[in-house]
Amino acid sequence: MALNHTVDPIIVGASVIAIKYADGILMCTDTLASFGSMARYKNIPRMAAIGNSTLIGASGEYSDFQEIIRLLREKEQEDFIQHDNISLSAAHYASYLSSILYGKRNKGNPLYNSVAIAGIINGQQYLAYLDLYGTHVLADYVTTGFAAHLCKPLLGNDWRPDLTESEAKQLVEGCMRTLWYRDARASNRIQFAKVTREGITFEDPYVLQSEWGYDSYKTYSLNPLYA
């Protein structure tokens, strides 16, 4: 096996959550990249815009995420040079990336990421999940990493296609808070981004409100004698 084969990831990002709502797609990640159990880079972006209607967010190996962004931007540049008033959509980028991921898994040298790709195509929301094998599935909401365990049920209960932006944000923020409480590799510094018919907007990262002062936290013990 060649030295440059990613067989276990080194610098890793945790969950990504992306959901469709009435006017577009809302995506959220925390801004942490961990080195094992060390919180190594605490303020890095884990989402990126490709062109003006495609948003991508990834968990997993951070360097592989950067490579994915490089490859997609290269494709975007090729498309821009055509100067034909036709631009690649999120579905095109997702299909292209899926082929790259599949090709690399065939060589036993995968890009170690789970990816959410969001965009607006002819006014309709498009949201896809991709993984390191090249699996490509469409969904109304996408969760990667630990969020697939902790947040998918929460979204399953409360997601509706007609959520307003503020309702969507409230729902996803609740999910991110759950991750902050229970996923040891999650951070409370989170960032939202959205794709709408007007384009892509990144919000500034902020620190989640959280509450650790409950009595049951303070007196927590596994020993029933002290419960």
């Binding site: 067989v7 995968p110 090249g134 969904a139 697939a148």
Partner: protein, 218 residues
């Protein structure tokens, strides 16, 4: 002493589960697939279609690993497009059956982790099903089932389609679409990888009709 490698080798395979089934009866064939895909105990989609239409009277249904199935279907569609451009006509079901076999065998030493059913109408207008293993061995069948629920479905189909283990005077006349729905609802009861919904494609000389009914979602 053998030096132990600290790195674990990347495993390129994954079983995403799911079941596909097909039943031919006269000039008709019904093909069903559940719409769930999973990784371990995690459901990654509840509405994923395992069936792809190849020609106006043939479809392929695949279970196993989703990524391999997607790429296999894509490859077949590309080859069929080339065939149409070269011959000005769609490939027959028999031609497709051989194409699928050699495509699978071309990856003999790094197989597509897919278990396929090819179903459609043959040149005589009769419904037919072809069943495959992952590396291209195949056989023409009257009915078939593949995937995580195959053991649960097969014996029921043997009994209903072939009249196996029956003492009465039996001929199979049931609506194949109904049979597939019943088999999937029963399968979803016991197989955790089969569920959410079943999509049934009804192929006749008039064309292809698609219907979907819900299954257990747990």
């Amino acid at each position: 002493m053998v030096k132990e490698s600290k790195q674990s080798q990347f495993n390129p395979y994954q079983n995403n589960g799911g079941t596909v089934a097909a039943v031919a009866l006269g000039g008709r064939v019904a093909v069903g697939g559940d719409t769930r895909i999973s990784v371990g105990y995690n459901i990654i989609s509840r509405n994923y279609c395992k069936i792809t239409q190849l020609t106006s009277k043939a479809v392929i249904a695949s279970s196993g690993m989703v990524t391999d199935a997607q790429n296999l279907h894509k490859l077949l569609l590309a080859r069929i497009t080339l065939y149409k451009h070269q011959h000005g006509t769609e490939p027959s079901l028999k031609a497709l059956s051989k194409l699928l076999s050699i495509t699978l065998y071309s990856r003999r030493f790094f197989p597509f982790y897919t278990f396929n059913l090819l179903a459609g109408l043959n040149e005589e207008g009769q419904g037919a099903v072809y069943g495959y293993d992952a590396i291209g061995s195949f056989d023409e069948l009257k009915y078939g089932v593949q995937g995580t629920g195959q053991e649960l479905c097969m014996s029921v189909l043997d009994n209903q389609c072939k009249g196996a283990n029956r003492t009465d005077d039996y001929t199979f006349t049931q609506d194949p679409v109904e049979l597939i729905r019943d088999v999937f609802t029963s399968c979803a009861e016991r197989d955790i990888y089969t569920g959410d919904a079943v999509t049934v494609w009804d192929i006749t000389a008039e064309g292809i009709q698609q219907t979907s009914i819900p299954l257990r979602r747990d």
